[in-house]
């Protein structure tokens, strides 16, 4: 049985409506994804996605066996890259066919795409460290542990979701600690 092919591609202009839907979905808002690129921002400054030297934005495309069409199933970003200290922040969002959010460890596709993103950071961009901010209530600690991520601390009440200030946990991964 052939496996599902997964690719990370640079976002195209034709994918803007889809990206906007992602940004407007409740799941994405709970993840704070919109704080990076709001729909309004996308409409006005789409070129910024390419021109910003400190951010890379990808769409996650999946191709099922026997199917020629590649389907966009999520988006991921490396942003706030500090080229001097060689680290960057990861943002990852993957949904299934019904539009429900999948966490990194929930399906193989999401896990593979996330690994591809980390590989890209370490092998292509030559970063020394990547970090990710996980919202309270998303239980992905075990999955991140497997990859070698370490919890660095908790930012108390750092995000506002549904009129409440909630906490986030910072996980980081150094290139030498990455379990491929």
């Amino acid at each position: 049985m052939t496996e599902v092919k997964i690719e990370l591609c640079q976002i195209e202009e034709s994918e803007i409506p889809l990206l906007r839907d992602f940004l407007n979905s409740k799941h994405a808002q709970n993840l704070g994804f919109y704080s990076a690129y709001s729909a309004e921002f996308l409409n006005q400054n789409f070129d910024m996605l390419w021109k910003d030297p400190n951010a890379y934005c990808f769409s996650i495309k999946t191709q099922h066996p026997g199917d020629f069409k590649k389907v966009v199933g999520g988006f991921c970003t490396i942003r706030n890259i500090n080229w001097t200290a060689r680290h960057g922040e990861l943002l990852f969002i993957k949904i299934n066919k019904d539009g429900n959010l999948l966490s990194i460890g929930e399906c193989d596709e999401a896990g593979t795409a996330f690994k591809m993103l980390i590989d890209y950071c370490f092998d292509e961009l030559n970063l020394n460290k990547v970090w990710i901010e996980i919202f309270q209530g998303y239980d992905v600690g075990a999955t991140l542990d497997k990859l070698g991520f370490i919890a660095e601390g908790v930012r108390q009440f750092s995000r506002q979701v549904n009129a409440k200030q909630i906490s986030t946990t910072i996980f980081s991964l150094l290139s030498e600690e990455y379990r491929r």
Partner: protein
């Protein structure tokens, strides 16, 4: 402009540019915003205008209000201002650490925090410092800041990667004090 307890915090102007470059590039003191030297007057003007216009960043020059000609003693900077989540990061750099920071450091920080919580209306303020900056960490702890995140190899200073600590203070805690 903020004028309180003998401290003046004034938004940066074009005449402050040399000080921004000088203080902003102090090794290990300002982690986020290293100022590139711009020799062209037009570029300098644009740079200052950009700081004053942008919603995510604000910079102030600190003056001591003790005479007719108050001396510039340092800079304060707010960056990554997130109006949605009501958070921001701050940088404070005072040139003469021994004399001015020890005497006026508390007042400068107090004025800045009041500005952040009551004028801009933010909920939480954070600061990033190197782990080895013991005296600065102590000063922020006096204002009830707490260490929240210990970021490994997060800054490249003096040829090696250094650990950065993130201290934070929320508005309820500030008010309680």
């Amino acid at each position: 402009m903020i004028n309180k307890d003998g401290i003046i915090l004034q938004p940066v102007e074009l005449t402050d540019y040399p000080f921004l470059v000088k203080w902003g590039n102090q090794r290990g003191l300002v982690l986020q915003s290293q100022t590139k030297r711009k020799t062209n007057a037009r570029e300098q003007k644009e740079y200052i205008a950009k700081i004053n216009k942008t919603e995510t960043r604000q910079a102030f020059v600190v003056f001591l209000n003790d005479g007719e000609k108050p001396p510039r003693v340092g800079i304060c900077e707010l960056y990554n201002i997130d109006h949605h989540n009501r958070t921001c990061f701050i940088n404070v750099y005072i040139e003469d650490k021994k004399n001015i920071m020890a005497v006026h450091g508390f007042k400068i920080l107090q004025s800045l925090l009041e500005y952040i919580f009551y004028r801009i209306g933010l909920y939480k303020v954070s600061v990033e410092l190197l782990l080895e900056q013991g005296s600065e960490i102590t000063l922020f702890k006096q204002h009830d800041f707490e260490i929240e995140v210990r970021k490994r190899k997060h800054a490249f200073v003096g040829g090696s990667y250094k650990t950065v600590v993130e201290l934070a203070l929320s508005k309820p805690k500030f008010e309680k004090k």
